[in-house]
């Protein structure tokens, strides 16, 4: 990909950035989601309302925050509140998009960021839910951003930290999660994936530039559903890359 002039991180940022429309609200975590939100604000979504879980509401993402609670998360913001208010705002249905990540994802979009192996005697202890479970429970649509390989795309996650569609259609509602919420897209270095409206299983929608459908299948540890038409996702444009490099991450903190 480098010969085309962008690296995998830049590809993920540009891809995710296009998925959030203007005049919407998005729950933003550190890292790639923040860069994607900042790029979106500078491209097509100047009025994207960035919500940070420790209380920043509607910040102008001029400088990149290094942490979810630092001053840049409420730079020129409309309000600076607190954690309970942010989660409750999502719980009341105000937050449209939520970004998520994890060490593992399964066909229903369930995410693991807690342990590899057994919970009480873990092989690897990971950070834990953080705000992930809240975002995955309350936001209308969640977008997972992941590197794409067989270790991460697994038939069964070791631990469901954050709910996707759980065991399938109707499972979220049966558990008591808000209706009409759940996983929307998965953005990877190989593909853009969605979920089948009936079976709620992960479905390939588009391949990243230069990637074949077979590449995606080979790097996924479960059977993927295929959309009727699988597109090639348009590569990052010169303008996106310029704004990303010269403006969004001018100090080269992430890219």
């Amino acid at each position: 990909m480098a010969e085309n002039g962008y690296n995998p991180t830049e590809l993920l940022i540009c891809t995710a950035s296009r998925l959030v429309p203007d005049n919407t609200t998005a729950f933003i975590g550190t890292g790639i989601p923040m860069l994607a939100a900042s790029l979106a604000q500078k491209m097509h979504a100047p009025n994207l309302v960035a919500v940070f879980e420790f209380g920043g509401v509607g910040a102008m993402l001029d400088d990149l925050p290094l942490a979810v609670g630092e001053r840049r998360t409420f730079h020129m913001a409309v309000a600076a509140t607190g954690l309970a208010d942010m989660v409750e705002t999502a719980q009341r249905g105000f937050i449209e998009y939520g970004f998520l990540g994890g060490a593992q994802i399964d066909p229903y979009g369930n995410l693991n960021s807690t342990v590899i192996g057994d919970h009480d005697h873990p092989k690897v202890r990971l950070p834990g839910s953080g705000g992930g479970n809240d975002v995955g429970s309350h936001c209308w649509r969640t977008i997972a951003i992941m590197p794409h390989d067989q270790r991460r795309f697994v038939a069964k996650v070791d631990f469901i930290t954050t709910p996707g569609y759980l065991s399938g259609p109707g499972a979220r509602e049966a558990a008591g999660l808000p209706v009409d919420t759940g996983p929307y897209r998965v953005v990877t270095t190989l593909a853009v994936l969605g979920y089948h409206p009936d079976s709620k299983r992960m479905m390939l929608l588009a391949t990243q530039p230069g990637v074949t459908i077979d590449d995606v299948i080979e790097n996924t540890g479960f059977e993927l559903l295929m959309a009727d038409e699988i597109e090639e996702y348009p590569p990052p444009t010169d303008e996106e890359l310029r704004i990303l490099r010269e403006d969004v991450d001018k100090d080269k903190l992430y890219i």
């Binding site: 209380g55 942490a67 409420f74 479970n133």
Partner: protein
């Protein structure tokens, strides 16, 4: 209410509302000068085996001068609520933590915490009970309200729920499943603020994380402040006071109290110092050496700041936009 499902995690702090009320009732309501050093505050108010909470977000507004003093005094077998970066990493590295209500412990942009991995994978931390950030904040809120639980619509259907101490019940009003979170009443809460008066009236600038709830969920509350101001100053802008004095047991003046983390509008975070910890903490020996140098090697916060150096601290202040 019909209980539909229960987490198998231990409730590591009992929900004793009447004891909490009695403790609150016994707190002095008169204006008393509560200023003291970190050493005195930790010695008087934090004991082995206590359930302790620290309020912060990531490296931001983190009560590090108090945490470092806990390490210096070796207060052990602590049970803690974990939404943490530098402070929980430090306490875990010092092997003072026995049980965790954990939401997130890692190093944000620097990834997974090596210390958490060592302490949990070795079994030295005996208990990890899982929660989401929202759940922990609402647990504090329940305690702050003085009620035994609060309902929330997250956690449901997941292993985060299964390994928590929450319960799912059939809501008596809607008939739908809802997750109930037990109130979390702290033995001791530690909060670092921008400014406080000698009595404990405390103000925070910018976002307030979960300080409002946690301050009200603490039986004993230690406030450290960048700056001590007069009671007259507090009374000029009472809308900013999120912690009134009668919640507070100790007031510690701690300039750069969040170092190596930041304090919005006052100083930026010390990136080289944080990186030094990230690198050092990758091995047990490295972490021990770091603690020996920066915590055990100095007698108090003042000496710690001298070790970091005046020039460096002034640089961190100058990095605040509008200051340079």
């Amino acid at each position: 209410m019909k209980v539909l499902d229960e987490g198998i995690g231990k409730l590591i702090q009992p929900v004793d509302l009447d004891a909490f009320r009695k403790s609150n009732h016994s707190k002095p309501k008169q204006l008393i000068d509560k200023r003291m050093s970190e050493a005195e505050a930790v010695e008087r108010f934090i004991h082995d085996g206590d359930y302790v909470g620290t309020e912060l977000y990531g490296t931001v507004r983190c009560p590090m001068s108090l945490v470092n003093e806990i390490v210096r005094q070796g207060v052990k077998d602590l049970r803690m609520a974990g939404q943490g970066v530098t402070e929980l990493d430090t306490l875990l590295a010092a092997k003072l933590v026995k049980a965790l209500d954990i939401t997130y412990i890692a190093l944000e942009v620097y990834g997974v915490s090596s210390v958490l991995r060592r302490e949990v994978e070795s079994g030295r931390v005996e208990t990890c009970v899982e929660w989401s950030n929202g759940a922990i904040a609402e647990r504090f809120k329940a305690a702050a309200m003085g009620v035994p639980f609060l309902p929330i619509r997250s956690m449901l259907g997941t292993d985060t729920f299964k390994y928590s101490a929450a319960k799912a019940v059939e809501c008596p009003f809607t008939g739908e499943p809802i997750c109930l979170l037990p109130a979390l009443i702290l033995d001791v809460g530690l909060i670092h603020v921008h400014r406080a008066d000698m009595y404990g009236n405390a103000q925070i600038d910018g976002i307030s994380g979960f300080a409002t709830e946690m301050a009200r969920a603490s039986k004993r509350l230690i406030v450290s402040a960048e700056e001590i101001i007069s009671n007259d100053e507090i009374r000029k802008n009472p809308g900013k006071t999120i912690i009134p004095y009668f919640l507070v047991d100790a007031v510690v003046e701690a300039p750069f109290g969040s170092h190596p983390g930041e304090m919005c509008y006052v100083y930026e975070r010390d990136e080289p110092q944080i990186k030094e910890w990230v690198e050092a903490s990758k091995t047990e020996d490295g972490a021990d050496e770091y603690l020996a140098k920066y915590i055990h090697g100095v007698k108090d916060h003042q000496e710690y700041l001298e070790l970091i150096g005046k020039d460096r601290l002034e640089q961190l202040q100058a990095m605040v936009p509008g200051r340079s």
